[in-house]
């Protein structure tokens, strides 16, 4: 199913998409596959799967460390595609999250072809802005893959309109200044204004990420957005447990969040 159809269906159900983020290969490749399958059984709507990268400019310490761990045991583009291929028949729709350079080295056409074959539905690239998105986006489009683009609190309205017009699948709304991470207690009041302003320029689904980490945040964001992305807090939830307990730790963590997203 294309992401736009999925969001249309959720709109009819009057609930936002719950979108957890996993780092491919952390704590192990098998655990990531198992997490992806489990996430469908507990009701996640879409999953973002991160390709580990050693220089993640948009990420805070939690995701950066998860990436380092995955790299230390063979993580990267190839392993991520492998994980997706194994999990996708039984997982929620998968959107790949990757920095630009690994995709550039892999080759855009080759990556698009193989990601499609593995069962992914889209690709998010946090260090590609509107002006640099074209060549990757057209390679992805040729395979029917979506490329959501990001808007930030600093993005001016006219620019946001152009980003929303070029994004496919959904628009990733960065909730705050800075990088990913569950650390501080976010104030989502400016986010609500940001979403209202975006609604004036687009009908695209708006999924919110960066800093969403507990039931309260999820309820707050669910009242306004079409999607809720939870990354660092989910990784924090299993990072301290043994690899064999990681799937259960993630399940225990996301279950109340999913319930909150549907309340």
């Amino acid at each position: 199913m294309r992401l736009t159809e999925l969001f249309a269906e959720l709109r009819r159900e009057k609930r936002p998409a719950f979108i957890p983020y996993l780092m491919a290969g952390d704590p192990t490749a098998d655990a990531t596959v198992a997490m992806l399958v489990m996430l469908r059984t507990v009701g996640a709507d879409i999953v973002e799967v991160g390709i580990p990268y050693g220089d993640p400019l948009a990420d805070g310490p939690t995701i950066a460390a998860a990436g380092q761990r995955a790299l230390a045991h063979g993580g990267g583009v190839a392993q991520t595609l492998d994980i997706i291929a194994k999990a996708s028949p039984a997982s929620p729709p998968i959107v790949v999250f990757s920095y630009f350079n690994p995709l550039l080295q892999y080759g855009f056409e080759r990556f698009a072809r193989e990601a499609k074959r593995a069962g992914a539905v889209g690709v998010i690239v946090p260090d590609v802005i509107l002006e640099e998105a074209h060549s990757l986006q057209s390679a992805l489009a040729a395979e029917g893959l979506d490329m959501p683009l990001l808007v930030a609190p600093t993005t001016a309205k006219a620019r946001a309109a152009r980003i929303c017009a070029q994004a496919t699948g959904f628009v990733y709304v960065v909730s705050r200044l800075g990088v990913t991470g569950a650390g501080s207690t976010p104030d989502f009041t400016p986010l609500h204004d940001q979403i209202s302003r975006l609604r004036e320029v687009t009908t695209m689904p708006l999924a919110v990420g960066f800093g969403v980490s507990n039931v309260g945040h999820v309820k707050d964001v669910a009242a306004h957005a079409d999607g809720i992305i939870v990354g660092s807090a989910l990784i924090d939830a299993y990072a301290k447990s043994a690899p064999e307990d990681a799937v259960a730790a993630v399940q225990a963590f996301v279950t109340p969040l999913i319930a909150a997203s549907r309340a």
């Binding site: 050693g54 400019l57 990267g76 080295q105 002006e131 640099e132 930030a152 993005t155 990088v179």
Partner: protein
């Protein structure tokens, strides 16, 4: 040359950053365009370079070094005589003036060896900005004296523990901190790297080296140099001196990269010589990376050259053939360091020793009608503890 509207020198440059930084880069670009067109801005910049930095730096013909192999005059551009002992301060003065003009409240900077951190701390003190410097935890240990100097000057040094704990990770962290405090913070980048307009802006703040040197060569020798040589880490001292000569087709431009243990080994920092095209720290250029697109660990005896990337304009000059990039190994640089100190009475920075080593090789192929100009980008005081311990 000015990069195109999207910040490209040919196929290199651009903006590969999180969206949150775009507004700040656009704001900076607009401020750069206005300031660069304002004679009063440049007048103040040059006044400070004169009174505070000690410019113009002289050119100086070597009296003994390489004279055993060549009759070609070998002329040094003495950036080592600047306040703080290197070219880095030309750039931090310019960026601090811009930060003040833009009403920014504080400065952040990345640093490897600490030279750019010190140059940033100096302008922070002078202009009254709080300064936060991000430095890999390994470098904090290796460069304890520069950490102390930065603190003495009132800056706060933040050790960065992620990744390889060196300059590349310090730069990542500075970008992240900038993203979190982007409205009031000015990010002072230390070389001709980063997203547009940084590579262009930093080059314009370093071109004073080349502009002065060109006029000085014409005045002293009545001719242009045959060859211009500079070491290349990120590439700012090289772009600065190249800028004065890039439109003179008779002048050959040589960039000297850190070969480390040699280009055929993994222990090198020669992005142009041993790397491939990719994206790092906001721009498309050459970098040392794995087949999977992960940035590789680098090595050089010289901390200031120990960086996996290189400024995009150098990538352009390499591919267009206008400049040639050559490696010098740790061993060759160290040998030149000692030889040069004993022959000239000048202790060069280890970075600059790479340029000096190549100059000797090139001089052997040149004659009395040629004129070799070498950018002596800094002095070696900062390296003495390291060299003494070898």
């Amino acid at each position: 040359m000015k990069p195109d509207a999207r910040g490209y020198f040919g196929a290199f440059g651009g903006r590969y950053v999180p969206e949150v930084l775009v507004a700040a880069l656009e704001e900076l670009e607009a401020a750069v365009d206005l300031a660069f067109a304002d004679a009063a801005f440049w007048a103040e910049y040059h006044r400070i370079l004169g009174e505070f930095v000690g410019r113009p730096s002289p050119i100086y013909a070597t009296t003994r070094y390489a004279h055993d192999v060549s009759a070609a005059p070998l002329v040094l551009k003495r950036e080592d005589l600047n306040h703080t002992g290197a070219h880095k301060i030309n750039n931090t003065v310019g960026q601090a003036l811009l930060a003040r003009r833009m009403g920014k409240k504080r400065l952040i900077a990345e640093t490897g060896a600490g030279q750019h951190g010190v140059a940033s701390a100096v302008v922070g003190a002078k202009f009254g900005f709080p300064v936060d410097v991000y430095m890999g935890a390994l470098d904090v240990e290796r460069q304890a004296l520069n950490v102390y100097i930065m603190q003495l000057l009132g800056a706060t040094v933040h050790p960065v523990t992620g990744g390889t704990q060196t300059l590349k990770d310090a730069t990542n962290e500075a970008f992240r901190v900038w993203a979190a405090q982007v409205e009031e913070t000015f990010y002072v980048i230390g070389s001709v790297v980063g997203a547009h307009p940084y590579p262009y802006m930093v080059r314009e703040f370093q071109r004073v080296i080349g502009d002065e040197a060109r006029a000085q060569c014409l005045e002293r020798y009545g001719r242009l140099p045959s060859d211009v040589i500079a070491c290349v880490g990120g590439g700012s001292n090289a772009m600065g001196i190249f800028a004065g000569f890039v439109d003179d087709p008779s002048v050959r431009l040589w960039g000297v990269e850190a070969g480390g243990d040699g280009l055929e080994t993994p222990r090198t920092a020669a992005a142009l010589g041993a790397g491939s095209v990719g994206v790092l720290h906001g721009s498309r250029s050459y970098l040392l990376q794995t087949a999977q697109g992960q940035v590789r660990d680098t090595h050089s005896i010289s901390a200031g050259l120990d960086y996996p990337g290189v400024g995009p304009e150098h990538a352009y000059l390499k591919d267009s053939g206008r400049a040639t990039y050559v490696p010098i190994t740790d061993t060759q640089a160290l040998e030149a360091f000692h030889e040069f100190a004993r022959c000239e009475g000048i202790i060069p920075a280890l970075e600059s020793a790479h340029a000096i080593a190549f100059a000797r090789n090139l001089a052997a192929e040149r004659g009395p009608d040629d004129l070799i100009l070498v950018n002596l980008s800094g002095r070696g005081d900062k390296d003495l503890a390291q060299i003494r311990a070898l």
